[in-house]
């Protein structure tokens, strides 16, 4: 990992466990709950949370994966970001309390896109949000119900979450970008 480390593997593990407790606490149980991870790293996080809840409550919650590629509001990103095929919702959303899971909450646009997508699949009773890192700089009125760690950042920084499932080890680092981030839409 390069960059400044802001969460160690242990901290990631503890935050995940705490989030799983909070989720159950907020629901006053596990009834009606379902976890949906946002591709890519939200998915392994959602599975970890589900595993933690299984250990503590003895209940296996349904876990799905959501690909929001087609719901972004910026066409100029299409050519930059190839498709990540991976929407798999093997349960009925109608009436469920969905907890969206993502690794980093930033502008909020990803979450908005995710909610748009979910609505095309059914009508959940409620949608909540759990993220490992909240780095601020919201551009939309979106807030997380459950946060692993609040990390103030500047726009010139990049927050990278590493998970064993995708990156060989756990951890969160902050890197400085080489150039000032280009505002989406004024592509190269």
């Amino acid at each position: 990992m390069s960059g400044r480390q802001i969460m160690t593997a242990d901290e990631v593990r503890r935050a995940t466990i705490r989030i799983s407790h909070e989720i159950v606490e907020k629901q006053a149980g596990t009834a009606g709950l379902a976890l949906i991870g946002i591709q890519r790293r939200g998915v392994p996080l959602a599975h970890r949370i589900a595993a933690s809840i299984l250990e503590n409550e003895g209940v296996r919650l349904p876990v799905g994966a959501l690909d929001i590629t087609f719901y972004r509001d910026d066409l100029s990103l299409i050519a930059q970001q190839p498709v990540v095929k991976g929407t798999d919702l093997p349960f009925d959303l109608n009436g469920a309390t969905i907890v969206l899971v993502d690794d980093v909450l930033y502008t909020g646009r990803t979450i908005r896109a995710a909610m748009d997508a979910l609505v095309d699949f059914g009508r959940p009773q409620a949608i909540r949000l759990a993220v490992l890192v909240d780095r601020g700089h919201r551009e939309l009125p979106i807030r997380a119900d459950h946060v692993g760690k609040n990390v103030p950042t500047s726009r010139e920084e990049l927050v990278r979450v590493h998970l064993e499932e995708t990156d060989a080890e756990d951890g969160v680092v902050i890197e400085r970008l080489e150039r000032t981030p280009v505002v989406a839409g004024s592509g190269g």
Partner: protein, 356 residues
């Protein structure tokens, strides 16, 4: 142009498919990352590389998943004007494009224009300019003259997707054919598979575009038909070995030799005008010598697939029993057509947005 494509792994629906092209982080600045689909227009497949074709395939897989949802719609192209401009009558393809655009939430205008621009008074260039002035950012065009889509692209500031121009090209058809074959062939790869395109190759834009895509995919491609309908292709085949990124293909009028041990047979429509032009003695003779019937299908491998771009002349180039055969993937072609066209509209929109 790249070297021959690597062997494909299992293409079955599973977990996230490993990326051949890098997956940038959503947080990173877009300008610092590579652009996998660079083409503002899709006019022909000769300039599309194999990695780009694979990107279309992956995108189409994702679109197929969208089509399986209860609401088969995504907002990706919301607010984008897509005009479908068909100068040739074709219900199937025109509707396929319309459905594809609508599934992406685009604003669709569907024009079945009169054929032969000049004689009807409004030139193609005038029509393109009008369509642009009315807000179109993408045009899907089908026209009876080769090169018409190129002309449209020259005079349009948005994206042009060639829906079939004269004898020249039909890129979305070749891509949906490829998609269908990858889905249905064991192993999901065309590498080394014997694919035969059978019929009126000379007048076929489907054949020409498939030559580009199938040779890029590493297939052992054969073209077969009567000599009058293969005129000029032996010369192309002879030079095909030297084309970077593509393989050699074969040309023969010997249907037995062509079909023997084939993995895929693609039959092409025979138009009755060909008889009037003196190219063939009669439909009956064509059907007798080159029609794909059960006996000829038997020359191919036992698990060979049958394809046809449609619409079919059953009893001429293809026997009804063969069209309805369990190994016919003709209906898959139609279904996949929507997914592939969604993928193309989506990728072109992204390239156009990056050009601004």
């Amino acid at each position: 142009m790249t070297a021959a494509p690597p062997e494909q792994g299992t293409g079955g629906p599973a977990a996230v498919v490993p990326m051949a092209l890098p997956v940038p982080s959503v947080d990173a600045a877009p300008a610092s990352q590579p652009s996998p689909w660079p083409h503002r227009h899709l006019l022909d497949l000769d300039v599309v590389s194999w990695p780009e074709i694979e990107l279309v395939m992956r995108t189409a897989e994702a679109m197929k998943e969208v089509l399986a949802r209860p609401i088969a719609r995504v907002p990706a192209l919301r607010g984008t004007g897509v005009t479908i401009l068909f100068y040739e009558a074709s219900t199937r393809t025109r509707v396929s494009f319309e459905v594809a655009a609508k599934n992406l939430s685009a604003d669709v205008v569907n024009i079945a224009a009169a054929s032969s621009s000049v004689s009807k008074g409004e030139s193609l260039v005038d029509t393109i300019r009008t369509v642009e002035a009315l807000g179109a950012r993408m045009i899907v065009i089908r026209h009876a003259t080769s090169g018409a889509a190129n002309l449209a692209a020259e005079h349009f500031s948005g994206s042009v997707l060639n829906g079939g121009d004269g004898w020249h090209a039909h890129p979305s058809q070749a891509l949906l054919d490829l998609f269908t074959l990858r889905e249905r062939l064991p192993g999901g790869s065309l590498h080394g598979r014997k694919v035969v395109i059978l019929g009126d190759v000379l007048h076929s834009r489907v054949a020409r575009s498939n030559i580009w895509s199938l040779t890029a995919a590493g297939a052992d491609l054969w073209l077969c038909g009567p000599a009058t309908l293969l005129r000029g292709f032996e010369r192309w085949a002879a030079s095909s070995a030297d084309v970077p990124g593509h393989g050699r293909f074969q040309v023969t009028s010997d249907i037995g030799r062509a079909l023997r041990d084939a993995d895929v047979i693609m039959a092409l429509r025979l138009q009755r005008e060909r008889m009037a032009a003196g190219l063939l003695p009669s439909v009956r003779e064509y059907a007798a010598r080159y029609g794909l019937n059960l006996e000829r299908l038997g020359l191919a491998r036992p698990d060979a697939l049958v394809m046809h771009p449609g619409p079919m002349n059953e009893g001429v180039e293809i026997a009804p029993e063969v069209a309805d055969h369990p190994r016919s993937v003709i209906t898959d072609q139609v279904t996949n057509g929507v997914a592939v066209r969604m993928a193309l509209l989506y990728l072109l929109a992204g390239a156009a947005a990056n050009d601004d």
